[in-house]
Symmetry: none
Subunit: 195 residues, 2 copies
Amino acid sequence: MVDGIDLDEIKEFAKAFKLRRLSLGLTQTQVGQALSVTEGPAYSQSAICSALAAQMYAAQLSSQQQNMYVENGKNKFEKLDITPKSAQKIKPVLERWMKEAEESSHWNRFKSGQNHLTDYIGVEPSKKRKRRTSFTPQALELLNAHFERNTHPSGTEITGLAHQLGYEREVIRIWFCNKRQALKNTVRMMSKGMV
Amino acid sequence: MVDGIDLDEIKEFAKAFKLRRLSLGLTQTQVGQALSVTEGPAYSQSAICSALAAQMYAAQLSSQQQNMYVENGKNKFEKLDITPKSAQKIKPVLERWMKEAEESSHWNRFKSGQNHLTDYIGVEPSKKRKRRTSFTPQALELLNAHFERNTHPSGTEITGLAHQLGYEREVIRIWFCNKRQALKNTVRMMSKGMV
DNA sequence: AGCATAAATAATAA
DNA sequence: TTATTATTTATGCT
């Protein structure tokens, strides 16, 4: 158990993920492209690879290789650029894949229990410096909206935002400090005639 | 308009600044060093980053990466200390850059900056990328054991591990960074219900 | 060719 | 200003 996460269970997850991917004859790149369709940002091959946390169990498994070679016109190091056309092509694959995933009751249990990334992020520093907070895009949107209206929110406003978003008050306060600083830096550079 | 500042204008500035930097093939660190020569205090990479107020528009731009590797003997988090020698080296770059900045109205013509890029490549030694280190299975075993106990080892612990295993301290530090990232990515994928 | 992951760069919380 | 986190790139293997 690290930071409230069961590493063994993650190893199981990684194994299952890989097996399923292989059973569908998909490369990591293809999975990444498929995910790019339904989820927001593009997933690179490397991201998929990282997500597997494969190093945790690779040593214990004999390495596996695909026996299927797939169409791959481009350099694998290039950024993935998914076109609507290719998205259309891969979508049914993803849907089927996700559907099969649903039927795996073992992982459903997981899904319902792990909806909060934030739990993992904010635990135990054991050091002096506070652990860096990761804001969700939704939180940032709200914060930025407030900032555009008022760069100096009152104490009450800060408390309200903190409560609404579920972050510590101090974290929100610091966010506004940093944001004001960023704005100031920009103005300073502009006044120096750069650009 | 916030506090008498036009936010849209700042966004435009940030965009323009980034485009120019990239078209010259410069990193944020390099620009910071260049500025340190002519302007007073040193500009760190982070300062440049802040000045760009990038978060204001990052979502709207596909992120871009440099293809040039620059001298990086030292920890990038250390304060930049610019020597007269390196200052001398980078000065022409800055001068050229500022000169082009003078004609700030012609963004489209900046395409031709690609031609000039070659002029600058020789300026900075542009050292090679560090050779990817290969950890022994024994080393990985020890590192993973540490990671399972503590994902955020202290500086002292990192130094100890590095010495014990015979790797550079920085290499060990980066290993933990990457390892934390891998764990986080796994958690993220799990929370998305994949598999 | 495809995968795993070290290294580099950018962004930003403290 | 500093110290991490977030992303991307690209190398070493199989």
